[in-house]
């Protein structure tokens, strides 16, 4: 990693790229002032149909590290191409060691998986920039504490809830559900348009469990979610699977927990 070291010394900061907003937060927390973080998919854009403008590519051609989420279709298409533009780019897969369900990319929505991701980030940063290893380590430790705390807080949110089931349009919360013993009912099957049988099944299950809240994400059309909510006699709540500030996750999960409590009452 000789070359990168000299780069760091020359320019002072590491140019780090990530695909989605939540990752940026992690990198900033670990890299602090020593990194300059860029996000490929800007706020509000949907990672499904993002076209990279030339300006971004220009910047990308000078990037040092790229942390990929690992299973985003967007990355699958672009990473090879970006590597073609920037041959010195170090691409780090932050999903290493995480057990992937169904190719679902949303690993940044469970604190426990985020802990693994941040370890990859820390390791990569300190191997590139050996000089500042101590600085990164310090930050990393703090982040790990924060994540552990969040992990406990989130686990606590669900204490006393027997039927830990929630309904979402887009299956973004699959890993959260796995890690905290929840059941995610997703209308989209594997992120694809659902068939009527699947919808009927979801409605049956939701009705049986008194679920009245359908979670939708702001990046997707909420129109469809509203129809399901109507059939259940409930409402749509928007939760963002791409939070800018990592701490928002807690608020989001507490909404999910609230929904479960209300469902239990409805039952």
């Amino acid at each position: 990693f000789k070359k990168e070291e000299s780069k760091v010394r020359e320019e002072g900061v590491l140019k780090v790229w990530v695909t989605v907003l939540p990752q940026a937060d992690l990198v900033r927390k670990i890299g602090g002032e020593l990194v300059e973080v860029n996000v490929l998919v800007p706020k509000g854009a949907s990672p499904e149909d993002y076209e990279i403008p030339p300006g971004r590519l220009k910047e990308l051609s000078q990037a040092d590290v790229y942390f990929v989420v690992g299973h985003l279709p967007l990355e699958r298409v672009w990473i090879e191409r970006i590597k073609g533009i920037n041959k010195d780019l170090l691409v780090v897969d932050t999903s290493q060691g995480i057990e992937i369900i169904d190719d679902n990319p949303h690993i940044w929505l469970s604190p426990r998986l985020v802990a693994i991701q941040s370890r990859h980030i820390y390791e990569a940063l300190s191997s590139i920039d050996d000089e500042n290893k101590g600085y990164y380590e310090e930050n990393y430790a703090a982040l790990q504490d924060e994540l552990e705390k969040m992990d406990e807080d989130i686990a606590e949110l669900f204490t006393g809830i027997k039927t830990r089931m929630f309904l979402t349009y887009h299956p973004a919360w699959t890993y959260l559900a796995r890690d905290y013993g929840l059941t995610e009912l997703a209308i989209e099957e594997h992120g694809k348009e659902p068939g009527p049988k699947h919808v009927a099944h979801i409605i049956d299950v939701a009705k049986k469990n008194g679920i009245k809240i359908v979670f939708a994400s702001p990046q997707h059309s909420i129109k469809s979610a509203q129809v399901i909510a109507k059939e259940l006699g409930g409402e749509v709540k928007i939760i963002d699977p791409l939070p800018e500030d990592y701490r928002e996750l807690y608020e989001t999960v507490s909404l999910i927990a609230d929904a479960m409590r209300r469902a239990e009452k409805n039952k």
């Binding site: 854009a45 990046q219 059309s221 109507k230």
Partner: protein, 283 residues
């Protein structure tokens, strides 16, 4: 069937299918006989520019789409009448231009933008009530307009030059037709997505054309076939657990090939080379 019909969304989807079939059957008949299938496909893409504009201006994208396709209808008519350009090329250009504009506008607009996929594909299972109402209103408008201008539409579609010598305002009639197509496409995009619109606009009238050479009967048969394909497709997709829009389309395609085969058996020993020529006779 019964256990399927117990769901609100399923009943609503069936209703949507029938309502969509009415608009598509009637407008699609003109689209097919006037050989402007291309227009319907393009308008769907042109709408995307309007969606982009909607996001950019912070208004409801559907109004942007309306404005854009209506404007494009007018543009197609105008350039066609005034500038002596080939219609299909103009449409190809508008298609590309609108999509490009849509992309750039969405790129430049702040805040959340909706996913392109839902516009391209739609989901008939979750058509909101307001879209049903939209579609119903559109059906009524289309039926009224066609009822009032049936003969004029036919004359202009068949031989525009003669219609002009008789005193028909052919430009106006043709524009009216383009507007009907534009409205259908936009409303349908919202309700069922682009592919289903194109399928329902073209397949039922094409099948119908094999059995009648009367426009009004073509419309009737198309509406019936469309309803069969949508309702049947829905039901099929329920039992096979497949995406319903796609199943409807595939059912319609199957219908087309079955009808083709039936006609083929009937006419097997008839000569067909001649008929094929008709394509070249028209350009």
């Amino acid at each position: 069937m019964m256990d399927f019909l117990q769901y609100d969304f399923a009943r609503q989807a069936m209703l949507a299918g029938v309502l969509v079939s009415i608009a598509c059957g009637v407008v699609g008949t003109y689209v097919v006989v006037k050989r402007i299938v291309f227009i319907s496909g393009s308008m769907a893409h042109i709408a995307y520019g309007g969606i982009g504009l909607g996001y950019f201006l912070g208004i409801n994208p559907i109004w942007g789409a309306f404005a854009f396709t209506a404007l494009s209808a007018w543009g197609i008519g105008f350039i066609n009448y005034r500038a002596g350009q080939k219609e299909d090329t103009i449409i190809g250009i508008m298609w590309a231009a609108s999509m490009a504009l849509g992309i750039i506008l969405i790129q430049m607009s702040a805040g959340y933008t909706a996913d392109l996929m839902s516009y391209l594909f739609g989901n008939i299972l979750t058509v909101p009530r307001e879209d049903l109402i939209f579609t119903g209103v559109l059906d009524i408008i289309i039926l009224l307009v066609v009822y009032c201008f049936f003969e004029e539409f036919r004359a202009v579609a068949f031989d525009e030059e003669f219609a002009r010598t008789v005193g028909v305002n052919t430009e106006k009639i043709y524009l009216l037709l383009l507007f009907l197509i534009a409205m259908t496409v936009v409303v349908m995009i919202r309700a069922v997505g682009v592919i289903l619109v194109i399928a329902l606009l073209t397949i039922p009238p094409t099948i119908a054309a094999q059995y009648t050479s009367s426009i009004s009967r073509m419309m009737l048969i198309s509406v019936l076939l469309g309803s069969i394909f949508t309702v049947g497709g829905l039901w099929l997709s329920f039992y096979l657990d497949l995406a319903s829009g796609a199943t409807m389309v595939l059912l319609a395609v199957a219908g087309f090939f079955i009808s083709l085969a039936l006609r083929g058996i009937k006419n097997r020993r008839l000569m067909v080379v001649e008929e094929r020529n008709n394509f070249y006779e028209n350009g």
